[in-house]
């Protein structure tokens, strides 16, 4: 009885036809004999974070001992509320390429710009002129020419023409005010210098200036700092009966590679759960009548495997830190607001 209750509280069950115990139920009054009220000390004791992989653009970490409601808040904030800098205004002086002005402007908007958003302020709506505190300006001026030194039999555009590809490396930063003194000579640039913006033919030209501002993904997806940010729950696989012989090999094929290992001792093959973490929870095992009852599949309710992939604007660990700070500042804003309203 107690074991069954513990299972409902801490595991999500994957069964043949449905996924059970999806929702959190650990609230005061739901279970007798459990103290489910919020307790910071208890939380601090059980909460763990383990960084599994960390590079300049990607990270994977485990967050253990927290409810989905809060873990999901971090995921949502990463996608749409951590600020970045992106192209917001495009001033086109000349565009004789085959790409229309509005399409060009949209393409420029989606280019990730390497600039720390924490150095900038949001632009206000009523503000007319850009200032060094809220805007980064780039110039994009490219004109395609014939390559006079090209061999006569050349057919490759790379040989025939000069500057026929407009790339992000052509974007030249133009410091506003004292930006050059503050941040250095080459402080701001697109994250990648080989993104193709447009293709030109001899005589065609693109001449424009762009203004980049700080914004959040909720307003426009171009401000989203992550390529992906997702989590999954840790899978747990238990063998309730021993699985031997050909069945062991069949069992192995039901899971992702590396999840089940088949060991041979005294001429008998026996299945063993080697690494449940690698499983993608396909539930293929339930297709086999003879294996159905040998196994239980669950996921650990409070063990989140986060995967964060940055666009390169900021390192992924900084993005997560910023996301946590965003949620914290939301709470504080409301506490202050309540305090102010009461004193009025």
């Amino acid at each position: 009885m107690e074991q069954a209750m513990e299972k409902i509280r801490t595991r999500v069950s994957l069964e043949e036809h449905d996924v059970k115990d999806v929702h959190s139920t650990d609230f005061p009054g739901t279970y007798q004999g459990y103290d489910d009220s919020w307790n910071q000390k208890k939380f601090e004791k059980n909460f763990k974070i383990d960084v599994k992989r960390l590079t300049d653009s990607e990270m994977e970490f485990d967050m253990i001992g927290i409810d989905t409601a809060i873990a999901n808040a971090f995921r949502r904030i990463l996608l749409s509320e951590v600020p970045t800098v992106a192209v917001e205004k495009v001033f086109i002086y000349n565009n004789t390429s085959i790409i229309q002005d509005e399409v060009l402007a949209h393409r420029l908007g989606l280019i990730p710009i390497c600039a720390d958003p924490r150095l900038f302020e949001y632009r206000t709506e009523d503000q007319e002129e850009p200032t060094e505190m809220d805007t980064i300006e780039f110039q994009l001026k490219v004109r395609c020419m014939k390559n006079t030194h090209a061999p006569k039999d050349a057919t490759d555009p790379d040989e025939l023409f000069k500057d026929h590809k407009v790339l992000t490396k052509h974007m030249k930063w133009i410091p506003i005010g004292n930006q050059a003194d503050l941040y250095g000579k080459n402080a701001f640039r697109p994250v990648h210098d080989d993104i193709l913006i447009a293709k030109l033919r001899p005589g065609q030209e693109i001449d424009c200036r762009v203004h980049c501002v700080k914004g959040i993904g909720k307003d426009h997806a171009k401000f989203s700092p992550v390529a992906t940010a997702s989590y999954r729950l840790l899978p747990e696989i238990k063998l309730v009966k021993t699985v031997e012989g050909d069945l062991a090999e069949l069992l192995q094929t039901c899971f992702s590679s590396g999840v089940i290992e088949v060991e041979e001792s005294n001429g008998v093959k026996r299945a063993r759960v080697a690494d449940a973490r690698r499983d993608m929870c396909s539930r293929n095992v339930f297709r086999h009548e003879e294996l159905k009852d040998c196994i239980t599949l669950t996921r650990v309710r409070d063990h989140f495997i986060f995967s964060v992939e940055s666009t390169g604007v900021l390192p992924p660990d900084v993005l997560v830190t910023e996301a946590i700070k965003v949620l914290m500042s939301k709470c504080r804003a409301f506490v202050t607001e309540m305090h102010e309203q009461r004193s009025k």
Binding site: S37, M63, A69, I70, I77, K325, K330, V335
Partner: protein
């Protein structure tokens, strides 16, 4: 969000009997499921709470309605406590995360040094 600092971000709806402080619906402007659901979880963790829920009245309106009913305490106090608990939890999560990242970076540096040492040998 930050830009509209002067606007009121929290309203209390006057649907209920004003004398009965245990039931309130709050309108939180500029918020969605991100704060709504995590705050609902925190408030529901409070034993004096009888009911807590939120909804997004319309997808194109940037606000949520957040309802609290308690057994005895004023709903306003419960909301404040929930917000404090949530930001307290965040503080600990932030500290733990930074510690874990530092640990991981240290380990990576050590591995690089070790490989350099082996290469130079």
């Amino acid at each position: 969000m930050e830009s509209e600092g002067k606007k009121r971000i929290l309203e209390v709806l006057q649907l209920d009997d004003a004398k009965d402080e245990t039931c309130r619906t709050f309108v939180m402007h500029g918020e969605d499921h991100t704060l709504g659901n995590s705050l609902r979880y925190m408030v529901m963790k409070n034993p004096v709470v009888e009911f807590c829920g939120y909804n997004v009245p319309h997808p194109s309106e940037d606000k949520i309605n957040f309802r609290i009913q308690t057994k005895t305490q004023p709903a306003v106090d419960v909301l404040r406590q929930g917000l404090r608990d949530l930001s307290g939890a965040c503080e600990h999560i932030l500290a733990t995360f930074e510690e874990a990242v530092d640990k991981c970076k240290k380990k990576q540096n050590e591995e690089v040094e070790k490989m350099d040492m082996e290469a130079s040998l």
